[in-house]
């Protein structure tokens, strides 16, 4: 529609040119993009190291060359060529060449139950992430941390976005999940000086890890009642202050629990949070949270936020709704904490303080309130940005807040706010005109 419509006067040449360039891509389905990405990552696996060497770099640029460029500006042309050859062109050409095939397959998949198409897309996405990440350890770590950040951001969005309350207790929930899961896995599978010899053979560890994570989530859920009961039994804005106090209390509690290392931290977690494990938990979190916020029970949060009296008058049990959502969000924060502890294989109370809170809030508000896609974009964008700007050291903490302020000025509710995320629509073939709604 956009491409064929008559051009309004005064459109710049640049815009016309841009539209022409992008027009063929409107019909590329998600499957096509994944194909492009796969080609790109495979290309990097096979020729990336050589190309990097030819272009004067010591190794494949870990994060799109930002770090390299900021340290050695002479390499700018080389990095640009690398990005073009390895990423931009393969993705652009790959997506375009596979367009009709991808559309054909996506169309065929629509005739089967949706989960088949979902599984295929998810597997492909995993292959892409895996191929990209395994190039070096740094990428693997970053990919894991980003996915964990997605879970954290989404779960906080349930409270701060969907429910419209301001909660500061997420670092506390993450800490509870991290410590609970760590204690369980260390107790059962590690010969620890405090918790004693391993109780079970290590082969069982991968199977018990989900249980440990879930218990961590439930622990966070349980403790969330300490915030939710006083905050939601009174009408008024006490949540922010109570939840902030909660985060401080949990932090100092952990600092003083010498049995778990106190302020020095708790370590020796077994290496259970592998890339596929973290990926699967992230997919599960996105799926379940998205299901929840799209159901009438979940949308009740919006009703509570936009007008609580009306929600009550329309039979919505507002107190129960708020409590449930709060415990639900805490659960996922706890899961994320458990994963985080087993990725780092070390946790200390210091990582669950104000700085963590600022980071999580930034991701939620940057990505967009009341939006699953927004939270994904927020978490991924924020973390990538933060990593890419790392060489700037102190200036990073000037640039990132500035960017956040800009987003807040031009899009007060975040980049992609108030957007419904319908996976069925997302994965559809794009070649047909919208004949059926």
């Amino acid at each position: 529609m956009k491409a064929t419509g008559s051009l309004p006067a005064g459109r710049s040449k640049f815009k016309i040119y841009r539209d022409k360039l992008l027009a063929p891509y409107i019909q590329v389905p998600v499957l096509g993009w994944l194909a492009g990405l796969l080609i790109s990552t495979l290309l990097e696996t096979f020729i990336g190291p050589y190309l990097a060497m030819v272009l004067g770099m010591s190794d494949v640029p870990a994060l799109f060359g930002f770090t390299v460029v900021l340290k050695q500006p002479v390499l700018i042309p080389g990095v640009i060529i690398y990005l073009l050859i390895i990423y931009v062109l393969p993705i652009a050409i790959g997506a375009r060449l596979t367009k009709s095939l991808a559309n054909y397959i996506a169309g065929k998949l629509q005739q089967y139950p949706f989960w088949i198409s979902a599984v295929i897309h998810i597997v492909l996405l995993y292959v892409v992430i895996n191929t990209w990440a395994v190039m070096n350890d740094y990428r693997v770590l970053l990919a894991k941390l980003i996915m964990i950040a997605v879970i954290v951001t989404l779960s906080l969005n349930v409270i701060n976005g969907y429910m419209g309350e301001f909660s500061c207790s997420h670092p506390g929930f993450i800490a509870l999940g991290a410590y609970t899961a760590s204690i369980i896995t260390v107790l059962f599978f590690v010969n620890d000086s405090v918790l004693g010899a391993a109780l079970l053979p290590p082969v069982l560890a991968p199977f018990l890890f989900p249980v440990a994570l879930i218990l961590g989530g439930l622990m966070a859920s349980l403790f969330s009642l300490l915030v939710a009961v006083p905050a939601f039994n009174t009408r008024g804005d006490y949540l922010a202050i109570i939840s902030l106090a909660f985060t401080f209390i949990i932090k100092s509690l952990l600092e003083n629990l010498q049995i778990f290392g106190g302020a020095r931290g708790f370590m020796n977690q077994p290496n259970l949070a592998t890339l596929p494990v973290v990926f699967l938990w992230t997919v599960l979190a996105v799926w379940i949270i998205n299901n929840f916020v799209r159901s009438t029970l979940g949308k009740a949060l919006n009703a509570v936020r936009d007008n609580e009296t009306a929600a009550n008058a329309m039979t919505v049990d507002t107190k129960k709704t708020k409590m449930t959502a709060f415990m639900f969000a805490a659960f996922w924060a706890g899961i994320a904490g458990g994963l985080f502890a087993h990725v780092m294989r070390y946790v200390n109370p210091g990582s669950f303080g104000i700085k963590k809170l600022a980071e999580v809030l930034a991701m939620v508000y940057f990505g967009g309130l009341n939006s699953v896609i927004g939270s994904i974009v927020g978490a991924v964008g924020f973390n990538l940005l933060s990593e890419m700007l790392r060489p700037l050291e102190i200036f990073k903490w000037i640039i990132i807040p500035l960017l956040l302020i800009l987003v807040m000025i031009f899009r007060p509710t975040g980049l992609i706010a108030f957007k419904d995320f319908d996976p069925k629509k997302l994965l559809r073939a794009k070649n047909k005109k919208e004949e059926d709604k």
């Binding site: 799926w287 379940i288 299901n291 929840f292 159901s295 009438t296 029970l297 979940g298 949308k299 009740a300 919006n302 009703a303 936020r305 936009d306 007008n307 009296t309 009306a310 929600a311 009550n312 008058a313 329309m314 039979t315 919505v316 049990d317 507002t318 449930t324 009341n370 108030f418």
Partner: protein, 256 residues
């Protein structure tokens, strides 16, 4: 047994006696009116009946149950629907979602369905959508499904409120100044809508209104309130000719 039975209801706000010794009775399917000058306590009565405020004294029975201790959402779920004088819509929600939200207490798929997208959940959501669209058509907003409410003209927003109140399956509908801000054309439409839903669904209606013609046209019985007390009660003719009403209310703003 009356559908709603209010006895000796009194409510103070600090030193202000907003409602005093109020008594009211309505049978299934009746339409009653509540009139009175600004600040007479009409909206407060609605808020007391629906549990937004609790009375200082008195009792309220709805469908045979003493609802004085019930929270607001439970009273609503018993079948007491209402609209608000100052619209209380959810600004980020579509019209369809408004109507579906009012079916909240009828949902049985539970958290399992909400989290895991079960068959039962999908079925129920679909059924509720169909029901919601029927209600929207009844009220004449059948085509607005995906619109956000702030984008709608005032008259339509009022209809969304009515449709939403109908979606809870009310036995009694409380309408707080449903014609406020409407022009005469919208007004006639609304009279028809209210008649229509009354005839079709058989709900009892209690409405607060300032426009006399509207009240006199629709209501079988009318109460007049002044300073929180009922000063007259009866059929439209009786009210129109009651000297106290004319003195307190009609005399000042002749709207007949």
């Amino acid at each position: 047994m009356p559908l709603l039975y209010v006895e000796h209801m009194t409510r103070f706000f600090g030193g202000l006696r907003a409602v005093h010794d109020y008594n009211f009775k309505i049978e299934p399917g009746e339409i009653h009116g509540l009139i009175g000058p600004n600040g007479a306590g009409k909206s407060t009565i609605f808020n007391l009946i629906t549990g937004v405020y609790k009375p200082t004294e008195g009792s309220i029975h709805f469908r045979g149950k003493n609802i004085i201790k019930y929270p607001s959402h439970k009273i609503a779920a018993l079948g007491l629907g209402r609209t608000f004088q100052n619209l209380r819509l959810w600004r980020h929600m579509s019209v369809l979602d408004h109507i579906k939200m009012a079916q909240f207490s009828q949902i049985t798929y539970g958290l399992i369905g909400a989290f895991f997208d079960t068959k039962k959940r999908n079925q129920q959501e679909e059924e509720n959508t169909e029901k919601a669209i029927k209600i929207m058509e009844l009220v004449g907003i059948g085509k607005l499904t995906d619109q956000l409410v702030p984008n709608l003209p005032y008259g339509l927003q009022r209809r969304v409120e009515i449709a939403r109140a109908l979606a809870i399956n009310p036995k009694l509908l409380l309408l707080d100044e449903p014609t406020a801000g409407m022009n005469s054309e919208e007004l006639q439409d609304l009279v028809n809508v209210i008649r229509h839903i009354h005839d079709k669904l058989g709900v009892a209606i209690l409405l607060i209104e300032h426009r006399m013609k509207f009240v006199m046209d629709l209501c079988e019985r009318i109460q007049t309130l002044d300073f929180g007390e009922v000063i007259a009660e009866g059929s439209p003719e009786e009210i129109q000719n009651n000297p106290r009403v004319i003195d307190a209310y009609l005399g000042k703003e002749v709207k007949i």
